[in-house]
């Protein structure tokens, strides 16, 4: 369970988040929706512990995130969080297999079989030795999804996961996300500006000018 209480964030004079409050239950598939510049990504960064609120608190499973402790926040992302980005963000010098395996290495749970199984799950087993540059956009995003879920995180944060894909590929990615959510019951927080994408979630939080509508 993730709970945000009165989150404020400033960038200089700019008040980006103006007292955000919400609660996401375990295994929920939720979409945070808003236009560009509404503060969605800032909120996602705070939820993942990469940024910190100037005011307010985030609770994960009842524990308050300690933003001042970098080691704990790194461990939090390492163990409990999976990330999916709009531009995939796979490491360009690593093969797909190696990219997917990173979270297992970080959690000291490296298991070749698990990497292969996950690649089968996202339909990329035949591309395991390819570099990201040799994959299509959709394939790269599937790879990113595999990397996000391989270590069985409690929650996956997906920032515009279909934003750089054509509608058909985007839909297949969303289908994959949905089916994975159904199978693994992982909490998914999807950030998007697209109404059609948001519809795939169970609940939608609308954000506009730093406040939840």
């Amino acid at each position: 369970m993730i709970e945000a209480i009165n989150i404020h964030k400033y960038y200089g004079n700019q008040h980006v988040l103006k007292g955000i409050n919400f609660r996401i239950n375990r295994s929920q598939f939720i979409a945070i929706m808003g236009r560009s510049g509404s503060g969605k990504t800032t909120l996602l960064n705070i939820l993942s512990g990469l940024d910190w609120p100037d005011e307010g608190s985030i609770y994960v499973n009842g524990n308050r995130l300690n933003f001042t402790n970098d080691t704990k926040m790194t461990e939090y992302r390492q163990k409990k969080v999976g990330f999916i980005f709009q531009f995939f963000n796979l490491l360009d010098n690593l093969t797909l297999f190696d990219n997917v395996a990173i979270p297992l290495y970080l959690n000291k749970k490296y298991d070749t079989k698990k990497v292969l199984d996950t690649l089968v799950r996202v339909g990329l087993i035949n591309h395991k030795d390819k570099l990201p540059a040799q994959l299509s956009g959709g394939e790269r995003q599937r790879g990113a999804i595999a990397r996000a879920l391989i270590h069985n995180p409690e929650m996956i944060f997906a920032d515009e996961p279909t934003g750089s894909l054509d509608s058909e590929t985007g839909e297949s990615i969303l289908k994959l996300l949905k089916s994975l959510h159904t199978e693994s019951k992982t909490t998914i927080v999807l950030v998007t500006h697209d109404n059609l994408v948001a519809k795939w979630a169970e609940n939608i939080i609308h954000i506009s000018d730093g406040v939840i509508e």
Binding site: L50, T74, Q78, D98
Partner: protein, 831 residues
């Protein structure tokens, strides 16, 4: 004008953005330039001072007559020359040392002041001219020298000439513009009387036609053109200067790679901006010019800082050059320690030219960026990847060319200096540089499994990082390779030299006590010891044998050669256990290896030596090793000194004591019996051996300094490359941070990359260093100095040195990896 303004703004903003990288590049260039210029200043000023006795008092004279078989020209011959022409000037030169703490080396010149044509010489004369002639110990000093030593008119100073102290009274000063600072001017008549000299060191003469003088020239005198003499003098120290300049230029080469890396990174980072500039109408030539200007600005700034640094470094390098030249050649004191316009222009030219060359490839890559491709990652790595094979072939070709050229020089000795070998070493360095990409790829293949096994995730990512940026990592590898090669080659050279020298010392320095005049700072002295020393020694019953050694500056085939005269019977008795009372009377000579190589002489050959008694043929009895001179060296028995040169004096004494006699007690006793006016240095065998090794260390002091600076530059190269890679990989670093990778783990990845590249660089450097040391020892050393030395590779010391080098390289990476924390993860990632 607008374009220039735009250039200025773009370059300034680039520099601001790449502050650390720019600063590192400037430091790299500055250090390279500083080292090269400071070494150039030291060697040039060394040569200038070394040659000063030829040109300083010779203004208006185009020839000089010098003795070839003796120290002095007879007064009678001077009279004969003066009958041919009035346009001549007699000169006596004597080495002396100031009896002070610093022990400045001063050259006493006995001259006929009215024949000196040095412009405004008299104008600068401040004292009473009459006193100069009438007071037997009156001298004229350089005004700067006097100021430095707080010497005023009519003050007295003490100088040691050979083994005697003399007091002089200062009767005038001359300007530094007129003569160098280490000159002491005396009236020639006073000089001859004071030092009991019945002759002249040389006669400066102005001749339109040499025929008349040549006709009356005895065979033991040479008539030389002043320019020719200058060249001969210069050639003596040329080897020393070439060697140092060559090594220091390698440091400039490493600076070149650093700058190349910086401009290359700037191009990669600025691709989107280049695209925008192209969109708004910048032409390809503009972009090309932009990055060349950028490189030139870094070069210019680095050169300016390098000039300032060079001034500081030159105080050290000049002192080192002074010591080395004084030890191996002749005592000199260099006072002109400040950079001049020529040095500044040289620094700027080298700095800017190197920078422009280093920027051209990157600038060309930048000019190829089209507005459309600007947002795509750089194709440089991919396009370079296509060139790896060609680069490898070129590398192999260059390496073999370098080896072949050096080999040709080894076999044929086409020049007086090992010029081909210098070129050969540069070709080999470039060859190795070109093969690095393929070498690194192969190296990665070999270590892939063990690294993955040992470092799993970290090893895997760093291996992939290196594979993905082979060109970039090759630059770091080259920096490490060159510096480790330099360190290894010099370590092997110095160690081999030291081993050979130690063996030589053990074989040759068998005497118990060694005596030389205090003013003698070089390995060889020409001013004889006063007879009182020999007389005192006669009273010592503990003396078994004495080898009275005499050195003379001789000529062989018109080229300066050292003549030594020893008691061969004594020498052979103690060094070879040969008892042959007649050995000295045989018309035989021992030749140094250098002499044998230079004149292609073998044992048994007959060589003709010009003596005061005419040309005499000697059979070469043996060829011996010597590390004390870089001229050809011939050793005769003293029998011939008396018979042909009519001398029986000594410049140094080697004393063999009877069994059971104590050296230290002997020295104490001798010192107590010496009159206070005698200034001699007495060493027992152990102290002498230590001194020889100290001189050896002193000779290599400047080399050690160069190595250290070259190593610092290469560390900057490594820091620069890792820093560059961190900047380039900031996106990947951010991804890793998002997915829960700690800063320490990311740092470990870069440390691992540096360790791999460092290891690869050191390994290649080891091979390159081996090749360079072989060429240096077996070719350059022989041609330059005539020193034949066996190679000794101190494997355990080298292993220790390499480990130290490796640790330093890895430790240096701590500096750039600390930047990882400063990366703005949120900004660096593509959402």
């Amino acid at each position: 004008m607008h374009t220039i303004k735009a250039f200025f703004h773009i370059i300034c903003s680039d520099f601001k953005r790449e502050k650390t990288l720019t600063i590192l590049s400037i430091i790299g260039v500055a250090l390279g330039i500083a080292l090269y210029i400071s070494v150039s200043i030291a060697t040039d000023r060394g040569i200038k001072t070394f040659k000063s006795d030829v040109y300083s008092l010779s203004e208006g004279y185009n020839y000089e007559v010098v003795p070839t078989t003796d120290q002095f020209i007879s007064n009678n011959f001077y009279k004969k020359v003066s009958q041919i022409t009035n346009d001549l000037s007699p000169v006596i030169t004597i080495n002396s040392i100031m009896d002070n703490v610093v022990q400045d080396y001063l050259k006493i010149y006995g001259i006929d002041i009215f024949t000196v044509k040095v412009d405004r010489f008299f104008n600068q004369f401040e004292g009473a001219l009459q006193d100069f002639f009438t007071i037997p110990n009156a001298i004229i000093l350089n005004e700067n020298f006097a100021k430095t030593h707080k010497i005023k008119l009519n003050d007295t100073i003490n100088l040691i000439v050979s083994d005697r102290k003399y007091t002089f009274i200062v009767k005038g000063f001359y300007s530094t513009k007129v003569l160098p600072e280490n000159f002491v001017i005396m009236d020639i008549g006073n000089c001859q009387e004071l030092f009991n000299i019945y002759g002249l060191s040389r006669i400066d003469v102005y001749l339109k036609n040499t025929k008349r003088l040549s006709n009356i020239l005895p065979p033991n005198y040479l008539l030389l053109e002043k320019n020719d003499m200058l060249q001969r003098k210069e050639s003596i120290v040329q080897s020393f200067t070439y060697n140092l300049k060559f090594i220091s230029f390698i440091a400039v080469l490493v600076g070149f790679f650093i700058l190349y890396n910086a401009v290359f990174t700037s191009v990669i980072k600025s691709r989107p901006n280049i695209g925008i500039l192209r969109c708004i109408g910048f032409k390809r030539q503009h972009i090309l010019l932009l990055y060349i200007i950028k490189g030139a600005i870094i070069g210019l700034t680095g050169s300016i800082i390098g000039i300032i640094l060079a001034q500081f470094l030159s105080f050290f390098s000049i002192s080192m050059a002074e010591k080395t030249i004084s030890t191996i050649y002749t005592p000199i004191s260099i006072y002109d320690v400040f950079l001049n316009l020529k040095n500044i222009l040289q620094a700027l030219t080298i700095g800017i030219a190197t920078s422009i060359i280093a920027s051209i490839i990157s600038a060309y890559e930048a000019s190829k960026v089209s507005p459309i491709s600007a947002s795509l990652p750089s194709i440089a790595e991919t396009s370079f990847a296509n060139l790896y094979k060609i680069s490898f072939i070129c590398g192999i070709f260059l390496t073999f060319s370098g080896i072949l050229i050096s080999l040709f020089e080894y076999l044929k000795h086409p020049f007086n200096q090992p010029l081909l070998s210098y070129v050969g070493i540069f070709l080999i360095i470039f060859g190795f540089t070109f093969i690095t990409p393929i070498y690194l790829k192969i190296f990665l293949k070999i270590i892939k499994r063990p690294i993955k096994k040992a470092f799993s995730f970290i090893g895997n990512i760093s291996l992939n990082d290196i594979s993905g940026s082979i060109t970039r990592f090759s630059t770091a590898l080259v920096s490490v390779m060159i510096s480790s090669a330099l360190i290894i080659s010099f370590f092997v050279l110095i160690h081999s030299f030291e081993r050979n020298l130690t063996e030589w010392i053990d074989q040759n320095l068998k005497f118990d006590v060694f005596i030389k005049a205090s003013s003698c700072s070089s390995n060889f002295c020409f001013e004889p010891l006063s007879t009182s020393v020999n007389d005192i020694l006669k009273d010592f019953k503990e003396i078994e044998d004495v080898n009275q050694f005499r050195t003379l500056q001789g000529f062989y085939e018109g080229k300066p050669t050292l003549f030594g005269f020893a008691n061969e019977y004594v020498v052979k008795k103690y060094t070879k256990n040969i008892i042959d009372p007649d050995i000295g009377k045989k018309k035989e000579v021992a030749a140094s290896e250098y002499f044998a190589i230079k004149y292609n002489i073998k044992i048994g050959d007959i060589i003709k030596i010009a003596t005061p008694e005419g040309t005499v043929a000697f059979r070469v009895r043996e060829i011996f090793k010597t590390y004390s001179s870089t001229m050809g060296f011939l050793i005769f028995d003293r029998y011939w000194l008396e018979k042909l040169w009519h001398k029986d004096d000594t410049t140094q004494l080697n004393i063999y004591l009877k069994k059971g006699a104590s050296s230290s007690e002997f020295i104490k006793k001798l010192e107590s019996r010496l009159p206070s006016s005698v200034a001699i240095d007495i060493y027992d065998n152990n102290r002498l051996k230590v001194r020889v090794l100290e001189i050896f260390d002193r000779t290599f002091a400047i080399t050690y300094a160069i190595q250290i600076i070259a190593f610092i530059i290469s560390l900057i190269g490594m820091i620069n490359t890792i820093f560059t890679i961190i900047l380039e990989k900031s996106h990947n670093i951010s991804i890793l941070r998002y997915i829960g990778c700690s800063y320490n783990k990311i740092k470990s990845i870069f440390m691992c990359s540096a360790s791999i590249v460092g290891l690869a660089g050191i390994f290649l450097g080891f091979i390159l260093g081996g090749l360079i040391s072989f060429i240096m020892i077996k070719i350059i050393n022989i041609i330059s100095f005539g020193w034949l030395i066996d190679i000794f590779i101190p494997y355990s010391s080298i292993a220790g040195l390499l480990v130290l080098l490796y640790i330093t390289i890895i430790a240096s990476v701590f500096i750039p990896v600390s930047y990882i924390k400063k990366i703005n993860v949120k900004k660096s990632i593509n959402f």
